[in-house]
């Protein structure tokens, strides 16, 4: 678990919203122009700071949805009891400004020079940093074969579906829908468990690298199952959303 020391100061930068994409009824991607952005690696996150008219300030962390070299983008899911996410998903408009700083985190990252087979396992909006990894792979022309297993409640809740379905050679996307499946659904149904991972995941002897992101219980289940399938714990990188992220 050795990393590269990052010893620079993270300063707050003013970002301008250049585009908004509605991904699902409760999720939107916000594209940002950030003069002075130092660049990021696939899988990292950033901090957003909002200032209200009365001076109240709130900060939150979001995974970066775009690949290194692309405009900075975050994908935000609206949490009903939230404070920041309802604003970002409902009020924010193109041309608005907000502050951010980053990138943050250097462990849950993928480098295009890593040729190992990639297993990406996403629960809900946990797909966001994994999408950055897939885009980085495409941009860099990496040959690392990818298997993405993506668990959503319903088909409507699948984020980036058109993009994920358009990927071709080398990226195999499997969906599992936990709450409801449309008529004629040919993907998986139900929660990700050991049996599903045994079917979808690279066998451990292929020396895969796994990235798992989603809610806590999802990540616990998946990481535990992968270790049970003989993945070395050091090759299972996890990022978890708390039960209460707002």
């Amino acid at each position: 678990m050795e990393g590269t020391a990052v010893q620079r100061r993270l300063t707050w930068l003013v970002a301008t919203v250049t585009g908004i994409v509605d991904e699902t009824p409760s999720v939107r991607t916000i594209q940002l122009d950030v003069p002075g952005w130092p660049g990021h690696r696939a899988g990292q996150h950033l901090d957003v700071r909002l200032t209200a008219e009365d001076g109240y300030v709130a900060e939150r962390s979001y995974s970066i949805a775009s690949a290194p070299g692309e405009l900075v983008a975050i994908t935000v899911e609206r949490l009903e009891d939230g404070e920041v996410s309802p604003y970002l998903t409902e009020e924010l408009r193109v041309g608005d400004q907000l502050e951010l700083r980053g990138p943050v985190g250097g462990y849950f990252v993928w480098e295009a020079t890593d040729a190992r087979p990639l297993l990406l396992v996403a629960g809900g909006s946990g797909v966001v940093p994994l999408r950055a990894i897939v885009r980085e792979r495409e941009r860099r022309g990496s040959d690392a074969p990818v298997r993405l297993l993506y668990s959503s409640r319903t088909l409507t809740d699948v984020i980036y579906r058109d993009e994920l379905d358009a990927y071709g050679d080398g990226i195999a996307v499997s969906y599992t829908l936990t709450r409801a499946q449309p008529p004629g659904w040919t993907g998986y149904a139900g929660r990700v468990n050991s049996a599903l991972l045994a079917e979808v995941a690279w066998p451990a002897h292929d020396n895969p690298l796994a990235f798992v992101c989603g809610p806590t219980t999802f990540v616990e289940t998946v990481a535990e199952a992968l270790v049970g399938l003989r993945y070395p714990p050091g090759q299972v990188k996890t990022e978890r959303f708390g039960a209460s992220g707002r």
């Binding site: 678990m1 010893q7 100061r9 962390s61 920041v84 990481a223 039960a243």
Partner: protein, 202 residues
């Protein structure tokens, strides 16, 4: 000058009595979110030890049963995660680090806590002594869940919670400060939530 977000307003005023207990940039949660970099380790208790080391050599070690036989304290503290949630009045039971470090002669200025799963974090000795840190094995009156760091985690509640290392197995005494796991990845060497020391340079 920060840009104003029109239409953005405070929604969560927080419970009464929380005033002055929330460090800058934090919000209150009733849940207990989990953050860790990899799978949750499961070390059988009959193989578990807590050790104090110097230069990699073991100075003193306790088995699980021996640790549980040491005098324990129940403490109620507020905890603050660098990912911005804070939780008030969390109740823990465990052994004070004063008790553990008191078992060895030492004059070093720092410790590096080490854990199952390879996680480490660095702390000044002055922050893990004098009734400020524990090896905690109960949360809210129950054995500590593995996903929250069980069987035992460090509890250093006055610093950001990544310093309260989960699955702790001991500390290495150091005469110099040395970055641990998250500190190597750009997080602050000390991590005082009241000074908002989240990242290197804060």
């Amino acid at each position: 000058m920060s840009p104003i977000s029109r239409g953005f307003r405070r929604r969560n005023s927080g419970p009464a009595g929380a005033e002055g207990r929330l460090p800058p940039g934090q919000y209150l949660t009733d849940g207990f979110p989990v953050l860790s970099a990899g799978p949750t380790p499961h070390t059988p208790l009959d193989q578990w030890t807590f050790s104090i080391r110097r230069n990699g050599a073991e100075l003193k070690s306790w088995s699980w049963a021996e640790l549980r036989d040491l005098p324990a304290e129940t403490v109620t503290r507020d905890i603050h995660c660098v990912t911005r949630w804070s939780k008030l009045d969390t109740e823990w039971r465990g052994v004070s680090m004063d008790t553990l470090l008191g078992a060895v002669a030492h004059d070093e200025g720092y410790v590096l806590a080490f854990c199952d799963g390879g996680y480490t974090t660095n702390l000044p000795i002055a922050d893990v002594t004098d009734g400020q840190a524990w090896v905690a094995y109960e949360y809210d009156g129950e054995p500590l869940d593995p996903e929250h760091g069980g069987p035992a985690r460090l509890l250093v509640p006055h610093l950001y919670f990544w310093k309260s290392a989960k699955w702790v197995r001991g500390v290495e005494l150091l005469d110099h400060d040395e970055p641990g796991f998250w500190e190597t990845y750009g997080y602050h060497m000390y991590g005082d939530p009241w000074r908002e020391q989240r990242y290197s340079g804060d």
